[in-house]
Subunit: 415 residues, 2 copies
């Protein structure tokens, strides 16, 4: 029998307790050990709970109990999670977590401690909820060089965009609906500003390419500026707008990482990933494109990923799973301004036809998009060639000086 | 350093040698050991090959060389692969294989030998080519009961169906094209009759539910009878026809397994899996639906899956990966006749309206489908309720006696 502690009894934590209890026998069969919850750490009391006697509000009790071999950290946020996780591993316990903020900020450091202490630090649930993605990247694709990863990594924004695309709901209305349904938090900033997706692409980038990418190194743009006009133009262009987190390996050893809304062609496997679902595309040199699709959040999917990690820790209680990346560096992520992209632009001018012609002269090959109920003076186009972001900004600046008001700019994905 | 042998130098075998050689250093880093190919077994000689000195046509040389710790079997077919794999494991070597025929026919027996000999028997490449699916099912979903698995498991038939759907190509023309492009073999029977998909669903079923399902227990229907009329009606109904392998756990402990063309709604994630791609849906009680998508065949994707298994064997040279299912039994798979399904029926009668009314009386809720260029006397409908296959057959028999000629029947999927 192996004893474990669950730190945090929120949505995911209570799910972990539920899965460990309800699947007790099948888990014991798979782990070849019975897994018993010894403690549940929470500042709150749960007197009516069937697990009432397991609750503790003392982290030290868990830390100092040598019988606890594996700890699940599902508190979320940086502190006190970071402190707890570190001290648990230094005390010789393996740790599993669903905490993407923690892994994105401190992954390299925590993986190093795990290595030194010969314990495991696993975090399958930190990306993609119940979708297996960390393991497939680290194990199954071991014989394959990953070239690029791109994904719809945040279910809340994907739900909002789906409502905007399918039902012409405004951003605000769709956000309110997501909040009513419990898909978005009261303070939705982490989702709609792209911070959550940013943490996840940092984790995937670090894992796939072996070096830590930190959130503050990643150009991150959310979906708050998107309008129904942009959604309509994306449809006319032949696709949909999705919030994409993307990382590519560059030839010079650096990586290009971005989180931004993008036009995705209807031919792309990611274009059909709707509602609260996540889809993650892994492009390998041998395997080609592989896409993983499923619910990227939610109590039970996320909990089942945490529990799968617990099982793996129990099976490898004396061995170590190989999962490692080294620390990052300030010059490892290429500046966003250097990346070459194609864009969609929606603008307004007193004489839109003339303004479009001026734009065409600056951007070269462009394709103009028309919609039925364009507002007065509106015009829109997509560029045909990729250009460095700096150049695009310079050209837009010139257009502005010529009296053009740029209303939206959205990147065109090459996925 | 660990020495390995590759048995078979066909498409996959040469790919395995290529991946092991071209990714030598990154593989060594991941396996924490250099992996060297000591032998390549083939009856043919390859005098100009850079690996010429590694070739042998003597299986005994590999078997009796204690330095060879891991053997990749990529010969294909039942014999001599079965004999070789068994003897290698009995000699204490781990074996990895891409051979779905072997795993579908002999998996339980070979897994038992692996257990007794304390070696590994891994077969990630046997299903889904380079798509990681065996590991995610056995590991990541450990904390989750799998309820159902369904997938587009054969790229050749999916290519043919895609051509029929998108370009109104006839089955024969699409098959010829697939043969020209190298997607279908000269003798395409294993693909188009569904045998290949059947082997793969047997492997997935055995793995997910812990008991061997043998190919001869599975009702298997290929795509040779499908016509463009059926494809058109599927579109009018609101979907596409795909060849699906499916397994469900029944409440009584048995499983329902089938391989057959099915109408798939456009809302299903599997409906967008086109061309030679595979898509596999795993439905778990905690995770909900997870879909894995990618190229299900091809030299390098399959080879990279074989090499990932080799790496895993090297990392677990003294430990064992937990991968096991027990032997099957004749009453484990529910008879196909008992399964309750909805169907699409295309038929012909002297008076189609009257014949449809007669059908409606027999089947209850049905929805008639109309197409523009229906042939003389043709009518088509889908049933609304699910009925046991036996009942459907009995009703169709009655219709035949009333002068109705049934031209096609295709199952309607609930995916």
């Amino acid at each position: 029998m192996v004893e474990v502690a669950v730190m945090g009894y929120g949505v995911v934590g209570s799910g972990v307790v539920e899965v460990l209890t309800s699947h007790f026998e099948s888990i014991a069969r798979r782990a070849k050990e019975e897994i018993r919850i010894k403690y549940i750490l929470d500042v709150r009391d749960f007197p009516g709970s069937p697990f009432a006697e397991k609750f503790t509000n003392s982290f030290e009790q868990i830390l100092n109990d040598p019988e606890v071999k594996v700890v699940a950290e599902v508190i979320g946020g940086l502190e006190p999670a970071y402190d707890y996780v570190k001290r648990c591993m230094l005390a010789g316990k393996s740790v599993v977590t669903s905490n993407k903020e923690l892994v994105a900020a401190k992954g390299a450091e925590l993986l190093k401690i795990a290595q030194q202490q010969n314990v495991n630090f696993l975090f399958e649930a930190s990306v993609g909820g119940g979708i297996p993605i960390i393991r497939p990247i680290s194990q199954c694709l071991a014989a394959n060089d990953v070239i690029e990863i791109a994904g719809i990594l945040n279910g809340t924004t994907n739900f909002i965009l789906t409502k905007m695309i399918r039902e012409q709901m405004s951003f605000q209305d769709a956000l309110s609906m997501a909040q009513r349904l419990g898909y978005a938090e009261r303070n939705p900033e982490a989702d709609i500003e792209g911070y959550d997706a940013c943490r996840k692409i940092c984790i995937l980038a670090s894992l796939a390419f072996g070096k830590h990418v930190y959130p503050d190194q990643v150009y991150t743009k959310g979906i708050t500026d998107l309008t129904l006009a942009d959604v309509e133009y994306a449809g006319i262009w032949g696709g949909v707008i999705k919030l994409i987190g993307q990382v590519k390996k560059l030839d010079d050893g650096r990586v290009e990482v971005v989180v931004a809304p993008m036009f995705i062609s209807r031919d792309s496997q990611l274009s059909g990933v709707d509602d609260v679902f996540n889809g993650i595309l892994v492009r390998g040199d041998a395997t080609g494109d592989i896409v993983f699709y499923g619910k990227g959040a939610g109590k039970l999917p996320t909990a089942s990923a945490v529990v799968a990690d617990i099982i793996d820790c129990v099976k490898h209680i004396k061995a170590r799973k190989y999962l490692y990346w080294e620390d990052g560096s300030s010059d490892y992520v290429a500046p966003y301004e250097e990346s070459k992209i194609a864009v969609y632009i929606r603008a307004q001018a007193a004489e839109p036809d003339a303004a479009f012609e001026a734009a065409q002269k600056k951007f070269g090959a462009v394709r103009r998009l028309y919609r039925a109920n364009a507002s007065e003076g509106e015009f829109a186009f997509v560029t045909g060639n990729v250009l460095p972001v700096t150049d695009i900004k310079a050209k837009l600046c010139e257009l502005k000086q010529e009296g053009v008001k740029v209303l939206s700019m959205v990147r065109i994905s090459d996925l």
